[in-house]
């Protein structure tokens, strides 16, 4: 049964991603003619954006605009959260928020990470949720799509990468808004709460008084899932029955996680005019994802090690699962959410069997099995550059990608961008493991505690946002450290690839011959798969051994 639904979800999302990719290409490309529907829409966008969205930008201007916009958004939302008690739409009278938590939260949502060191229903007013956080959920996802579009334009040889503001408008208004509206409607039909009323007061059968938090949940959840944001309206995220009430909404939300990242690959293929190349990338990402989902379900079908030798019936690991979704829903969602940099959860990751936890970690370390909206494909581009460089030499030519030579400058940027990731994860983990900042906040000592620290930094650096939990993470040290990690982990791997695109675009493309490394073959798929797995394995093997693997071995697994 579970295999059937998993296949249905993955296959369904893959199928839907194809037309969505087409639609996204249509939305992100300038109108082809000076008439027609798309042209009229463009006119509307131009009226909205004004002069600023017209000028063609080179890669430096594009990056600058991107950073400028995101900085402004950071400042605005910071102000919204800081002024929360003074602002409207606060029926439950949520008070002021601690400054390091504001810094952390704004960084987290700006970076499309949505790592939450708070519980939404206890900390945020509806105004903060909707106009602070949900707003960022839209524009941070749109930033990712815009960056990928710019990358694709550079790779197809245009020295102007487009206009960031224009791309941002297109991605927000033409892609994310319609998509999220549809998504929210589906969720409301499925029973997800949507109201601006304050918390409901109820009297239980025993006569106790209960305050039940609610709010504009469906709107929030739709973009949370679709924009690989992952930040829940409630602290419990998609385990909460108001965010994810039924088996059916669980299936829908799972598909939402993958939909846009998958479509981004097709959009990349269409924008660069290399659809077969995109298909190879899609298959590699899909294979990685399928293998991870398979393993996670297999590993999670064994009971927790704590049950060994106890006189209980053997069952799957049920700890921390929402049983209304079935036993397979937890590990499946856990893989999808970590592989796509989404970070919403529908089970307790801390309670996963150690090796299942490793699979979740692997998803964030690779960060390319579809990855975040836009940025997943950008990450894959970095691995492709490295793979192309090494295997390109092996065919006896100066390595080239899409006809353009990959040389010192490109390699320098690509490696820097790739190294940011392990630097933030390993550096952060090492620092916090060796100091009370981290060591004193873990719930469990030993391997599991180490995994908790490792997971938190992996989640922050990968802009994932899921929590392993079991960590007392709302401290100034955690807030500041992970906020910095999230921002660096977000923007450096966007800036550097755009720099590569700018540099490649300036080169004259060579026509493909029989002597050129083809990028649309299964062999090339193998090359990029190898480059992802090798780089990932070599960088993270030691910490994987010390955390989940040691825990698994030590618990007699």
């Amino acid at each position: 049964m579970s295999i059937f639904f998993i296949t249905l979800m993955l296959g369904g999302a893959a199928l839907l991603s194809w037309p969505l990719g087409q639609a996204m290409t249509w939305a992100m490309s300038p109108p082809r003619q000076q008439e027609g529907f798309r042209f009229r829409i463009e006119k509307v966008l131009q009226r909205l954006g004004g002069k600023i969205i017209i000028a063609e930008q080179n890669w430096k201007q594009y990056v600058l605009a991107l950073l400028l916009f995101n900085s402004v958004m950071f400042a605005v939302v910071f102000a919204v959260l800081a002024l929360q008690p003074l602002l409207p739409l606060n029926p439950d009278a949520r008070g002021a928020i601690e400054p390091s938590l504001i810094f952390h939260t704004v960084a987290s949502f700006t970076a499309n990470t949505n790592l939450q060191h708070y519980a939404g229903e206890l900390t945020m007013s509806y105004f903060s949720q909707l106009f602070g956080l949900m707003w960022l959920q839209f524009v941070s996802a749109a930033t990712g799509i815009a960056a990928l579009t710019a990358l694709a334009r550079g790779l197809s040889g245009s020295s102007g990468l487009g206009n960031f503001y224009n791309d941002l408008l297109r991605a927000t208004l033409l892609i994310l808004l319609p998509l999220a509206t549809t998504g929210a409607a589906i969720l409301v039909l499925g029973g997800v709460v949507m109201t601006l009323d304050g918390a409901a007061l109820a009297t239980t059968i025993e006569g106790a008084n209960q305050t039940i938090a609610r709010g504009p949940v469906a709107a929030f959840v739709a973009i949370k899932q679709l924009g690989t944001n992952g930040g829940g309206f409630f602290g419990a995220n998609s385990t909460h029955p108001f965010e994810n009430p039924t088996f059916l909404t669980n299936v829908v939300e799972c598909m939402f996680i993958m939909l846009v990242p998958m479509a981004c690959v097709w959009m990349f293929g269409r924008l660069t005019g290399r659809l077969r190349h995109a298909a190879v990338i899609f298959l590699v990402m899909g294979a990685l994802l399928a293998v991870k989902v398979g393993f996670a379900n297999y590993l999670e079908s064994a009971p927790s090690a704590a049950f060994t030798g106890l006189p209980v019936a053997a069952a799957a690991n049920l700890e921390g699962k929402e049983l209304r979704f079935g036993t397979a829903a937890g590990p499946t969602w856990g893989v999808l959410t970590t592989a796509t940099s989404n970070g919403s959860v529908n089970c307790m990751h801390d309670s996963l069997n150690p090796l299942t936890g490793l699979i979740a970690l692997t998803g964030m370390w690779f960060n390319v099995s579809f990855g975040g909206v836009g940025v997943g494909m950008i990450n894959m581009f970095l691995y492709i550059i490295v793979g192309v460089f090494i295997s390109g030499m092996m065919v006896g030519r100066t390595p080239e990608y899409l006809g353009r030579k990959v040389e010192t400058r490109e390699m320098k940027f690509a490696l820097l961008a790739i190294l940011v990731h392990p630097l933030l994860i390993l550096g952060g983990t090492a620092l916090f493991a060796a100091t009370p900042w981290g060591a004193a906040t873990v719930q469990d000592q030993g391997f599991h505690g180490f995994s908790e620290i490792l997971y938190e930094f992996s989640s922050a650096a990968a802009n994932n946002g899921s929590g392993f939990e079991g960590l007392g993470d709302n401290t100034a040290a955690w807030n500041v450290a992970t906020a910095i990690v999230m921002l660096l982990g977000r923007f450096l791997p966007i800036i550097l690839p755009l720099a590569i695109a700018g540099s490649l675009a300036a080169k004259k493309p060579a026509p493909a011959t029989a002597g050129t490394l083809r990028t649309d073959t299964p062999l090339f798929g193998l090359v990029i798969l190898g480059s992802v797995v090798f780089i990932g394995a070599l960088l993270f093997l030691p910490v994987a051994v010390l955390g989940p693997i040691a825990e698994h071995l030590a618990s007699g697994g």
Partner: protein
């Protein structure tokens, strides 16, 4: 003075074979004792940090070795029980650095040995410099660019230069290994002379084009000796990549120390350094310089002087070859092969007339018409008449023939020339002629029209014979993704036919030098990289424009200056060899990089469990190789990491096996050998070393 046939115009297979043998003989074997001694000493000298800093991977290794040495010293005073272990790690680390230096030094000394054979020609000689009409005797070392010297028969040409006056046969065997003398003369495309070669006859007046130490040879010697070596673009990119990987593994191992503290493990510094050195790509880092040097060395032993390492590397990227038809694709001498008589004329009539018309023609073409006539007519063949008046071939008339004393006259020549001759004498042009001429041309042959007493008889076909095996060779080039363009002076019809027979992708017919240049520019605009070979002054612009321009050593100074390589053999097929050298160079780098990185997996499995085995005994499950003790596991991995360097020196210097295949087949093959092989080999290697260590009772 009659021009001698260009020495390579018709090389048979045995000729090529002989040349390859000679080249092989000149090549030193890989591990010659003399070279090994020099390289060993050099390896130690290169330990100085200033030299090491050029290579980030090995520099880190040296720093690691220095750090463990410091630990060793402190442990000696503290009298710790880990002393033996630290000593072993320290020694192996230093050995790793020395192996890397040795690889580079060996490649360098091979380059030097190559250079020395060429340098022998460079001994200083006397030169007779022309000053103010008179001449003065100076040493060749004092020559400056622009000096004019006189060299008479028996004297050695003091430096590279250009003949400004006279013609002479020159023995260039010192440079090319070719014993037949060649002609060098002023004005034409054979005006370049090389220092160290000997004039055999006559006297030449030579303008020196390269002062002492500045000739091509000097430059090339500097390149192979490594003194002036600059990193090529791809080498630089790879160095950056390797530095990036090194940085990554520095982070990985650097993070392990504080993480160890979390688990209450105090990781010893030598162990961390051992892990670091095993993980960073020392194999390719150690061999990178040697690979580059060996590439230059291979070019030099193919008798090609490259002006930079960049040019050799770029050769691998070439996707279009411009080849001259004559001498490269065809044997170069056209032979009479068939008769095409006009209606009403018999083949015998035509054969006889053609023969008579060619009696006075001493060119190979003329002789071949006589030979064909003798074969066709047998005893009926006419014989030469001494009293006949011979009309010699000139470039203006473009026909030749003879008038017999009995009043009969015979003419043969280019179609339009003979027709004009006939018309001049008022005879009609048979309408069938045009068709004959065109059909012969279409077959790739040159039509020679024959007339007897102003009456046209028919056409003799002169065909250029393709070089044996040329078609296969082009097929292989095409498999590698190369386009071959034939350049010929023939008319388009003939060119098309030969192009078809030879299997080239395109041709430039009736080519003038500017056509070549235009073609190159057009291809380059489409993003292609072009290689061509040339010798004449009018080739110079095209040579300069082409991405790889190889000038023949026999060519003019202008051509040599314009190109980025000079072929000492003046062999037009050398282009193909140069491309293979470039491709092999890049493939070797890629293959060894892959191998180096793939090795890391096994090393992890050896070292990571060993590092934490004491604190986390359960990690023993990861010791899948069953290595004896943590100490021996680490030492074994480190030893493997070190000895793989000298073991791979032969591959680095000879280059990975090169086969003309498509990119995908090459990649599949190399991934299998160097990727999969690199993944598996260290498992076996480390296990074996561990067995040996435990058998010997060490660790």
């Amino acid at each position: 003075m009659q021009r001698q046939p260009e020495k390579l115009s018709g090389p048979g297979n045995d000729h090529v074979q002989a040349k390859l043998e000679r080249r092989r003989a000149r090549r030193a074997s890989l591990f010659e004792p003399q070279m090994l001694r020099v390289a060993c000493w050099q390896a130690v000298l290169m330990l100085q940090p200033r030299v090491m800093a050029r290579n980030p991977v090995m520099f880190i290794t040296e720093i690691g070795a220095a750090l463990t040495t410091l630990v060793l010293v402190t442990e000696m005073f503290a009298n710790r029980e880990t002393l033996a272990y630290t000593l072993a790690v320290t020694m192996i680390l230093w050995l790793t650095v020395l192996f890397a230096n040795f690889a580079e030094a060996l490649a360098e000394s091979r380059g030097k040995a190559q250079a020395d054979t060429l340098k022998r020609t460079r001994r200083s000689t006397h030169a007779r410099r022309v000053v103010n009409g008179g001449e003065e005797k100076i040493s060749s070392d004092e020559l400056r660019e622009g000096d004019v010297v006189l060299v008479a028969a028996g004297e050695v040409i003091p430096s590279d230069g250009e003949v400004v006056e006279g013609a002479a046969s020159v023995d260039e065997s010192a440079i090319t290994g070719e014993s037949a003398p060649v002609v060098r003369e002023a004005g034409g495309d054979r005006s370049g002379v090389t220092g160290g070669t000997r004039v055999l006859s006559d006297q030449l007046r030579i303008r020196i084009t390269a002062g002492a130490g500045e000739s091509f040879l000097d430059r090339m010697i500097a390149l192979v000796e490594g003194a002036e070596r600059q990193k090529t673009p791809n080498e630089l990119a790879l160095t950056v990549t390797l530095a990036g990987l090194t940085l990554a593994f520095l982070m990985v191992t650097g993070a392990l120390w504080p993480i160890g503290r979390y688990f209450g493990v105090n990781l010893p510094i030598p162990t961390l350094i051992a892990l670091l050195i095993c993980l960073i790509p020392t194999t390719i880092g150690a061999l990178l310089a040697a690979i580059g040097l060996a590439g230059m060395d291979r070019a030099l032993s193919a008798n090609v002087l490259a002006k930079s390492g960049k040019a050799v590397e770029l050769a691998g990227d070439i996707d279009t070859l411009l080849l001259d038809k004559t001498g490269t694709i065809t044997m170069g001498d056209r032979q009479a092969t068939a008769y095409f008589p006009l209606p009403g004329v018999t083949g015998e009539q035509l054969a006889e007339a053609a023969m008579r018309a060619s009696f006075g023609d001493q060119t190979p073409e003329g002789k071949s018409i006589v030979r064909l006539g003798e074969k066709t007519l047998g005893p009926e063949a006419p014989s030469e008449t001494p009293q006949a008046r011979i009309i010699a071939f000139t470039a203006q008339t473009r026909l030749s023939g003879l008038d017999l004393p009995d009043g009969n006259s015979y003419r043969k020549g280019a179609a339009d020339a003979v027709q004009a001759y006939v018309k001049e004498h008022g005879s009609p042009i048979p309408p069938a002629l045009q068709g004959l001429v065109e059909s012969v041309a279409r077959q790739g042959s040159t039509p020679i029209v024959v007339a007897e007493n102003q009456n046209l008889l028919g056409v003799v076909a002169l065909s250029d014979v393709l070089k044996p095996g040329i078609r296969d060779r082009f097929d292989r080039l095409r498999a590698m993704g190369l386009r071959v363009i034939m350049v010929t002076g023939d008319n388009p019809l003939t060119a098309a036919a030969i192009a078809e027979q030879a299997g080239v992708d395109d041709y430039i017919a009736e080519a003038r030098p500017e056509d070549k240049l235009e073609y190159i520019r057009r291809e380059q605009r489409a993003g292609r990289l072009i290689a061509m070979m040339g010798d004449g002054t009018n080739d110079a612009p095209a040579l300069a424009q082409a991405d790889i321009g190889i000038a023949m050593n026999s060519g003019t100074q202008a051509a040599k200056e314009a190109g980025n390589m000079v072929d000492l053999d003046s062999d037009p097929t050398k282009l193909i060899e140069v491309i293979e050298i470039g491709k092999q160079l890049l493939m070797t780098r890629g293959a060894l990089t892959t191998f180096s990185i793939a090795n890391d997996v096994a090393k992890y499995f050896a070292i990571v469990p060993a590092m934490f085995m004491l604190a986390i005994p359960q990690l023993a499950a990861l010791n899948i190789m069953g290595l004896a003790t943590p100490g021996s596991a680490i030492i074994s991995a480190l030893i493997f990491n070190a000895i793989i360097i000298p073991l791979l020196i032969p591959i680095a210097i000879k280059g990975v096996r090169y086969r003309p295949m498509g990119a995908d087949s090459i990649l599949r093959r190399n991934l299998l050998i160097y990727g999969l092989g690199g993944l598996l080999a260290p498992f076996a290697g480390i296990k074996l070393i561990d067995l040996a260590l435990s058998l010997m009772g060490i660790f």
